[in-house]
């Protein structure tokens, strides 16, 4: 599995990220690092606790990382959640978390598959 295929699987744009970051090596490094990004867990916990501020920050961080890595699908869903939480708690939030969960799991699955194949 190439990075390109991985990006297709997670709903991202490989061409876009390669234009911005200078090497495949760097893209790969950060794609793999995404497995250890803790913000998603923070987000889930904060939504459960109805802690709007922490949830906003976590969603914002996910959105920012996704922008940098061109994980477009996850970016779009986390961005929607982030904007909903910008001015405090909304009961929409748990509903909006669902697509984020879906996209996040899909992203993680694609990266894991890629990692397993490359032996990284």
């Amino acid at each position: 599995m190439s990075l390109q295929t991985c990006y297709e699987a997670l709903g991202g744009s490989y061409d876009a990220v390669r234009q911005r970051l200078p090497s495949d090596r760097m893209v790969q490094k950060f794609v793999l690092k995404f497995l250890n990004e803790g913000s998603y867990d923070d987000l889930v916990r904060a939504i459960e606790a109805k802690d709007a501020e922490t949830a906003f920050r976590a969603a914002h961080t996910i959105k920012g990382v996704c922008l940098n890595l061109s994980f477009d699908k996850l970016h779009d869903s986390s961005d929607a959640l982030c904007e909903a939480l910008r001015h405090g708690w909304t009961d929409e939030a748990p509903k909006l978390l669902e697509p984020v969960r879906e996209d996040y799991e899909r992203t993680i699955a694609a990266i894991r598959a890629f990692a397993a194949e490359t032996g990284a």
């Binding site: 876009a16 911005r20 690092k33 906003f56 061109s70």
Partner: protein, 679 residues
């Protein structure tokens, strides 16, 4: 200077920090901060080493804008370029970021190349500005040195021919400078800035240039001139001026040449109109020429000439003030009278070198002060830090406080002290400050220096009794000095803080104990022991009064101190102390009770609870964007009940300890041993 430049990256996402570190790590040294507060802590302790800040917007603790606001307030933003990097794309954010002084705004997702280029360009820009500042200073230094040199050569040629010693030009120079500097402190009649003073002082060297055209046999004639010879001699002022006027147009318009013209032509005019060549009167004579004229007379009197012996300094001053040597502007007479006591010593000390150096230094400082040039050199940053650190002391009203930092050499006086001495609150290079030196004679100064030398880091405080010139008269004072040392392994002496106490006032009061032993040096409040003594005295005077003793504790002080850096803790304590001091009434006794706690002892009229509530209210709000949390535990007695300090204190301590986390205030009446909760 070739160290790798350091970039501080403040972002709460580790991924984001790492991506930036990866992109920039080859070229720069990277320091990371997880949130705004951490970034501020790094800036606080290592500001001088940080070359740039890459700042995220959304962060816990403090967000990017709060960091920027603080950087503005502390004026760090002037020295450290900030690039904001954010996924926020709305123009309001971008606009506000620029308003708050960021150099650049990079939106996510960013291109690695663009980040590298923008960072490099900003670094270059700031480095260029720094270099430019250095170059300007260097240029001024060079120019100043060159023109001083040329003027001195020229005036020495004239003097040599006159058979005068080389000292004459030097003395005129010194005297002119001293007089001018003093003049602007006693009147604003003559609008002279430092540049004008430098110009007049430099031009003064040319005052006798016209003598080059007077025949040698006249100039060097021993004994008195005949009327004819005197008439020839008198032409030198007009001739000198004419020589300057006939310079090619491009030079004749120079401020230096114009000033020299005034001095040459009119330095033999007299205030009453009886001088030559034009018979000008009063302030028709430019102030430059008036001052040089007086300096010329003084130096002529105190120098040996072929036809006369030298008068002593005292006699010369008396003769001038007495009007025996012509009429002068009364303001200038006052100047001479004021500076006379220290004049002789200063003239003796004057050497060519030190004079040039000190003026160059002054001009460099002037350039550094100009706001359009960013103050970016390390010593000046240190200076700023010192200013903040001791800002507190300057606000202590009614006391002559000072603090002195060694490098850069700077003295800061409390506002009261500054007005008492008629000096600026901040004096750069105090050793060279004439006005300051007029308050303290050489022996006293040497004594102070000896006293300071006896200090060590472990034994930092010393007292010195001496005479100081305060408020227009000699006063016996006691100077309390506490030296400040660096934290290095080999402690270096970095400065002094101190206080001047008038012994006369001290004696008339009950007793002024050693200030350093009775006060907390950080906050200036009483220490616990001193407070105890005073509280005992207070209770003794009125054993059955209604008293209250409150202990005020800053919550999480240790944690705050830890996370915002050591200086923060000190500032916070001083802030709280200042708030308490502002709210305290006359008889209240305030003290530093512990590392994070304060003691307030008071006598109340109606309700002890009101006082406790006042304490809480006065400490509500934020300090440097951090919400201030305090707890107050109080013990009180009612009127008619016996009061005891130890019991009050112990009860207040127990009360404070026993409060649960949500409680802010708890008051306990001590008469009842069980404690009756009034809350």
């Amino acid at each position: 200077m070739n160290r790798r430049k350091k970039i501080l990256i403040a972002d709460d996402s580790e991924m984001n920090r790492e991506i930036l570190a990866e992109i920039l790590g080859e070229e720069y040294e990277i320091i990371e901060a997880e949130n705004g507060a951490e970034a501020v802590a790094v800036l606080q302790s290592n500001r001088a080493e940080i070359d740039m800040l890459l700042l995220d917007y959304v962060m816990p603790e403090m967000d990017g804008f709060q960091v920027l606001e603080l950087m503005n307030r502390q004026r760090w933003i002037e020295d450290i370029p900030v690039i904001m990097i954010s996924a926020e794309s709305s123009m309001t954010y971008v606009e506000q970021a620029y308003e708050l002084g960021v150099v650049d705004f990079i939106k996510r997702p960013f291109e690695a190349l663009v980040v590298q280029r923008r960072v490099a360009n900003t670094m270059l820009l700031y480095a260029k500005q720094k270099k430019l500042t250095d170059m300007i200073i260097e240029q001024i230094y060079e120019n100043e040195k060159q023109s001083s040199l040329m003027i001195n050569i020229l005036s020495h040629i004239v003097e040599f021919r006159n058979g005068e010693s080389g000292q004459h030009v030097l003395h005129i120079h010194m005297l002119t400078e001293l007089m001018l500097k003093h003049l602007i402190t006693i009147t604003d009649k003559y609008p002279l800035n430092n540049a004008d003073i430098a110009l007049i002082t430099t031009a003064s060297a040319l005052h006798d240039v016209g003598k080059i055209s007077i025949p040698a046999e006249v100039i060097n004639k021993p004994g008195r001139f005949t009327p004819e010879e005197f008439a020839i001699m008198k032409t030198h002022s007009a001739i000198g001026a004419e020589m300057l006027r006939q310079l090619p147009a491009e030079y004749a318009e120079e401020p230096l040449v114009k000033t020299a013209y005034e001095i040459c032509r009119w330095h033999h005019e007299r205030y009453d109109g009886r001088g030559y060549p034009d018979g000008l009167k009063g302030d028709e004579i430019p102030i430059s020429a008036q001052i040089v004229a007086l300096a010329d007379v003084y130096d002529a009197l105190t120098s040996e000439r072929v036809y006369k012996k030298a008068f002593s300094h005292e006699v010369a001053v008396d003769m001038i003030l007495d009007g025996q040597c012509g009429t002068f502007n009364p303001l200038l007479m006052q100047c001479l009278r004021d500076i006379a006591p220290t004049l002789q010593q200063k003239l003796k000390n004057a050497t060519e070198e030190s004079r040039t150096e000190s003026r160059i230094e002054a001009i460099s400082m002037e350039v550094m002060r100009r706001s359009e040039l960013s103050v970016s050199s390390h010593p000046m940053r240190m200076l700023e830090r010192e200013r903040l650190k001791y800002g507190f002391y300057r606000t202590v009203a009614g006391e002559l406080w000072f603090d002195y930092s060694r490098a850069p050499s700077m003295l800061t006086l409390s506002p009261y002290g500054a007005s008492l001495l008629g000096l600026d609150e901040v004096i750069v290079n105090p050793g060279q400050n004439e006005q300051l030196r007029s308050h303290i004679d050489e022996d006293t100064l040497q004594g102070l220096v000896r006293a300071l030398r006896s200090c060590t880091r472990d034994n930092p405080a010393v007292e010195y009794d001496c005479l100081l010139n305060l408020d227009g008269g000699e006063h016996e004072v006691r100077v309390l000095l506490r030296t400040v040392w660096s934290d290095d392994e080999e402690p270096r002496y970095v400065g002094v803080i101190g206080k001047v106490i008038d012994r006369a006032e001290e004696d008339s009061g009950s007793e002024m104990p050693d200030w350093m032993n009775t006060h907390d040096l950080q906050t200036g409040l009483y220490n616990r022991h001193a407070a105890e003594v005073r509280i005992h005295e207070h209770i003794e005077m009125n054993p059955h009064g209604s008293f209250g003793l409150a202990l005020v504790r800053i919550e999480n002080y240790a944690v705050l101190n830890e996370s915002y850096g050591g200086e923060f803790g000190g500032r916070l304590l001083r802030y709280v102390a200042e708030r308490l001091r502002l709210g305290a009434r006359g008889g209240d006794i305030l003290a530093q009770a512990g590392d994070d706690s304060f003691l307030v002892f008071f006598e109340y009229r109606r309700s002890a609870l009101h006082v406790a509530e006042w304490i809480l209210t006065s400490l509500e709000g934020f300090y440097e964007d951090i919400p201030l949390a305090v707890k107050v535990g109080m013990a009180y007695t009612n009127a008619g009940e016996p009061a005891n300090y130890a019991v009050l204190l112990a009860t207040a301590e127990r009360t404070l300890e026993g409060m649960d986390t949500a409680e802010q205030l708890c008051c306990v009446h001590v008469e009842n041993t069980e404690g009756e909760d009034d809350k």
